[in-house]
């Protein structure tokens, strides 16, 4: 197991070096603008009302690790396996999408701070570690994803292994993003209206958008303090870190070619993170992808089964119970 882990690390390290080299070559090539006239010729198409066109079906399968790995990380715990009997989980392994496009893994989704590590306050990690070690004790210790509530904003756009489809529609004055996972629609007004009042606290916050050139900038505030910035195991150490009402996310969607939207999100929550941090990833156009209605609660057998597994463990250890 340990050898496998080391081998995996070695593979990841090798892939990372190769990927970084590829990126470096691409950057250098792009810098010499005369070398790639075709790339310079691409311009974003517009919707009827003049918005840069982001519409279509997009997916974001991505095998890039969320953070740069640290020896102190506890992948077993983050994936809900505190006993260490399982093999842990990592980033979603989709080097290619179904159209065969190569998806180049990068060093980490976290691009700022430059060390690729999210500046999580110790209290938040401790609270999360306790919760994940007790997921079979109560639904309260499970993430909002496992409870079929939401993967959150921006967490709903973080890569995972399946159900990673998104549909973007634009109408005059609005952008709508439909998330396949848990079946959520974000309706983002573009008319400059202010955020809702501070008394209103929302699972996914209150989104307000505007265009800066070809970039859709979405400002999200008014969160409740019940959710998490990230919920799925591919988010590794950031999984299930609690969010506070002070959470503020700034998302930037830029269509950089026909098949790619560059997505960047800067997250600040001064009660949870010591500094703001930024993650970067792509949405890849996949017009033939079909999204299913998610219907999560109806099929969420994992919830009762996990809790009944916990009760079976209690019964097997009567000495630990009080009279």
């Amino acid at each position: 197991m340990r050898n496998r882990g080391l081998t995996s690390l070695a593979i990841i390290a090798t892939v990372t070096v190769v990927a970084l080299a590829a990126v470096a070559v691409r950057v250098m090539t792009t810098g010499a603008s005369t070398a790639e006239p075709a790339a310079a010729a691409w311009t974003a198409s517009r919707t009827a009302d003049g918005q840069p066109d982001l519409q279509g079906i997009w997916t974001n399968y991505d095998s890039t690790p969320f953070e740069i790995f640290d020896a102190g990380d506890k992948p077993g715990l983050y994936s809900g396996d505190p006993d260490g009997t399982a093999r842990g989980t990592g980033p979603a392994s989709f080097p290619n999408d179904v159209t065969g496009r190569k998806l180049v893994p990068r060093k980490s989704l976290v691009v700022d701070p430059p060390n690729g590590r999210v500046p999580i306050m110790p209290w938040a990690e401790e609270r999360r570690n306790y919760a994940l070690a007790h997921i079979a004790d109560s639904w309260e210790y499970q993430t909002t994803w496992e409870r079929c509530i939401t993967r959150g904003v921006p967490g709903g756009l973080f890569p995972t292994g399946y159900g990673s489809g998104y549909q973007i529609l634009q109408t005059p004055g609005y952008v709508m993003i439909l998330y396949e996972m848990i079946h959520e629609a974000r309706i983002i007004p573009l008319d400059g209206r202010p955020h809702v009042g501070p008394a209103l606290r929302l699972w996914n916050g209150d989104s307000r958008g505007h265009w800066e050139g070809n970039t859709l900038v979405v400002d999200v505030t008014n969160y409740n303090d019940k959710g998490s910035v990230a919920t799925n195991a591919a988010s590794q150490r950031v999984r299930a870190i609690p969010q506070s009402e002070a959470l503020h996310a700034i998302e930037r969607f830029t269509r950089i070619d026909e098949n790619t939207i560059d997505y960047q999100v800067t997250i600040e929550d001064p009660k949870v993170f010591t500094t703001p941090w930024t993650a970067s990833m792509t949405l890849n156009r996949e017009p033939d992808y079909q999204m299913f209605e998610y219907a999560c609660h109806e099929g969420n057998q994992a919830m009762p089964n996990t809790l009944s597994a916990g009760r079976a463990k209690d019964t097997a250890r009567p000495a630990t119970r009080t009279q």
Binding site: D81, A86, A233, E298, Q301, T306
Partner: protein, 143 residues
């Protein structure tokens, strides 16, 4: 086309090395990696539901008694990407499922391989839940 898609998916997963997929819940919260089980019987229902598909089957024991089992699989969209479709296991199909038993002792299991009578194998697993690395998950590293 279907076969080529499945093969492409398997190849892609192998190339990815030790980076399993991420699933809705943790394997070890619900299933016991030390209790593998092999189930032989007929498909009675295939539930194409999120966040995990469930395959139901009837298993005849040595004493002739028929017992119902429920087997968890990957999400519908994950199974479709691997080559599964609505015709993969019609009702009444004789199958062999290899998986791991539920920790609460009920007749539930986390499915891994499904083998049809003609020898065809379909990977049912909900990859990345942390199931033991037994070499059958195409998302696992190959030696």
């Amino acid at each position: 086309m279907r076969t080529s898609l499945f093969m492409a998916g398997a190849a892609a997963a192998m190339l990815a090395g030790g980076a399993p997929l991420a699933a809705h819940h943790a394997f070890s919260a619900e299933f016991d990696g030390t209790r593998p089980v092999t189930l032989k019987g007929k498909v009675t229902k295939m539930e194409w539901i999120n966040p995990h598909a469930w395959l139901h089957m009837e298993v005849r024991g040595p004493d002739g008694k028929v017992i119902s089992w429920a087997v968890e699989g990957g999400a519908p969209n994950a199974l479709l990407r691997r080559g599964w479709n609505r015709n993969s296991v019609p009702l009444g199909t004789e199958i062999v499922v290899e998986g791991f038993r539920a920790k609460d002792g009920s007749n539930r299991a986390n499915g891994r391989d499904v083998t049809l009578a003609n020898g065809t194998k379909l990977f049912l697993g909900s990859s990345g839940t942390g199931a033991p690395a037994d070499g059958r998950d195409s998302a696992e590293p190959r030696k």
